[in-house]
């Protein structure tokens, strides 16, 4: 490995983004898994957010060089990732699938990866990677007996053993307990602070919120939003919301609520009201005084569209 490949370049030196997808699509027969998406990823932590089946793994596999784009291009450090063996000199992968070689111990598994990378001091690199993920105590146990969280950590150690510049992780926190998750997040933050590029996928908003500086939201194979997480979070929060309210007098409450500026529409439904609000915060603050002034008692106040899928569909259709 050359020094140039091993050393994470400073952000200021990076002219070309580490990853660039340009009008990239990928289909399998009649199924379009990824549709005409373009984005670039720079050093730091980027979260690939989207519901299950949105195309996140397909995007990661194309970046990792395991799937050829049906159209468009996928470049890593300016070179096509497809059939580019040199890519793996500076890229580490943590696949979502749990399988590791069950007959190998954690140490042997990481050492195998180090040797396959032909590292000059594989044993030293292995010890460092195992230490980084905090797996010293279990390193001499067969991975077949590992918990899901331990498997995720040993996979991370294997991905880190050659000191990669780029780390691709597919749902790395699946099955990981909260303490291990915090530890893994800490490791990833440290790696990012050293100037590395980390791209991880998740279908859990909170994971991405806690870890990523930048976010790419993918829904149904399309890029729904990208950029700073706080901006996207705001978009998600400020979208129109629908609430179901049950009260002592639904008709009177409907008449009172329609005058509130944050309310877009009210509909009487079976045993309650369905209210569409333009501003989540303002509406939540407005409801109690409106109900009190109208002499109505509130029994139930439930957001009707808080699923991640509904948030994602809003981002796609806005």
């Amino acid at each position: 490995m050359t020094d140039d490949l091993k050393k994470p370049p400073a952000a200021a030196q990076t002219i070309e983004p580490v990853i660039r997808l340009d009008s990239t699509s990928r289909w399998f027969g009649n199924l379009v898994a990824v549709s005409d998406i373009s984005f670039s990823v720079d050093p730091g932590i980027t979260g690939l957010l989207g519901p299950n089946g949105a195309g996140k793994s397909t995007v990661l596999q194309m970046i990792a060089g395991f799937l050829r784009p049906s159209s468009g291009s996928v470049l890593v450090r300016g070179r096509s990732s497809w059939r580019n063996d040199k890519l793996y000199r500076y890229t580490g992968l943590v696949p979502e699938r749990e399988a590791v070689y069950p007959f190998l111990t954690g140490y042997q598994f990481v050492l195998l990866n180090a040797r396959l990378h032909k590292l000059p001091n594989a044993a030293e690199a292995t010890a460092r990677a195992v230490r980084t993920v905090g797996l010293e105590d279990a390193q001499h146990r067969a991975t077949g007996g590992y918990s899901k969280g331990m498997k995720q950590r040993v996979k991370l150690a294997a991905a880190l053993v050659h000191d990669p510049l780029l780390l691709l992780l597919d749902e790395p926190f699946n099955g990981v307990d909260p303490a291990q998750r915090l530890h893994m997040m800490g490791v990833l933050r440290e790696l990012a602070a050293e100037g590395r590029t980390i791209l991880f996928s998740s279908h859990i908003l909170e994971e991405v919120e806690r870890l990523a500086d930048n976010v790419l939201v993918i829904v149904s194979g399309r890029l729904a939003a990208s950029g700073d997480f706080r901006r996207i979070r705001r978009l998600m929060t400020d979208r129109p919301h629908t609430f179901v309210i049950r009260s002592s007098d639904n008709r009177r409450l409907a008449a009172a609520l329609i005058e509130a500026p944050s309310v877009k529409g009210v509909e009487l439904i079976d045993g309650g009201l369905s209210v569409r609000a333009s501003d989540f915060g303002a509406f939540a603050l407005a409801v109690p005084p409106v109900a009190r002034d109208a002499g109505v008692t509130l029994y139930e106040f439930v957001p009707a569209d808080q699923s991640l899928e509904s948030v994602f569909s809003y981002l796609v259709n806005r």
Partner: protein
């Protein structure tokens, strides 16, 4: 050849249960030879050993079954459980992966078939016939290499490599080549028997394919299938790799 992948593949293939089952299968010809030797029969022992035991049981059954199990598992299991990603995500040529996988599945298969052929023939024959024993041991080993190359490619093309392999062995080689003589040129079993015929001095055994032709075809098929497997792995894509 990459030694790490070779050693890893050997450990994968020679799990306790699989090894036990393959050894039990390889012991079967020894048992049959023992029964024949103890029986009181007028059959010519060299004729029976060559055509019945070595050709009929070792080459027709043991050789394809052992190589089929080992070769389709060698890469097929890694593709199925996703561990292949740890080999493909390294700065290694795909040819290194294929060669290591091929050798790892061929060596135990070749050793098992050759040992089974040599020891069962030694039991069955009242007088030593070294050329017959050596001929089938070498031909079995070479046949295992050719079968391994074919089945390795098969495991890259389909997740049902075992089923297609069985169809090839028992329908194509077992039935079709017996009916249509022209198809013998596309049968590894016939190549193996041809090579055995080329190497043995025993007159009781006569293969249907000329020895030199069989050897040339065996080499060509092996090289061609290894090249196709490398090409296939170079373009390998799967939706469920991650």
């Amino acid at each position: 050849m990459n030694r790490e992948i070779f050693a890893l593949s050997l450990r994968q293939l020679l799990g306790r249960r699989r090894t036990f089952a393959l050894i039990a299968l390889a012991l079967l010809p020894l048992l049959v030879a023992l029964v024949f030797r103890m029986g009181d029969t007028d059959t010519d022992p060299v004729d029976w050993t060559a055509n019945g035991l070595l050709a009929g049981l070792i080459v027709y059954v043991l050789l394809p079954l052992v190589t089929l199990v080992l070769s389709t598992t060698s890469l097929g299991m890694e593709i199925e459980d996703g561990t292949i990603v740890y080999l493909l995500s390294k700065p290694l040529s795909r040819a290194q992966v294929i060669i290591a996988k091929l050798v790892a599945s061929w060596l135990p298969a070749g050793a098992l078939v050759s040992l089974s052929a040599a020891s069962s023939a030694a039991i069955a024959l009242p007088e030593s016939e070294p050329s017959l024993i050596l001929a089938f041991a070498i031909a079995g080993c070479l046949g295992a290499l050719a079968y391994s190359a074919v089945f390795l490619l098969l495991s890259l093309l389909t997740s049902r490599a075992l089923v297609f392999g069985l169809v090839y062995v028992f329908i194509w080689e077992g039935l079709v080549t017996g009916i249509f003589s022209g198809t013998r040129a596309l049968s590894i079993r016939e190549y193996t028997l041809g090579v055995a015929d080329l190497l043995t001095a025993a007159r009781q055994f006569d293969a249907r394919l000329d020895g030199v032709t069989a050897l040339v075809l065996m080499v060509v098929v092996t090289i061609a299938f290894v090249a196709l497997a490398i090409r296939r792995l170079n373009r390998f894509e799967t939706r469920s790799l991650f």
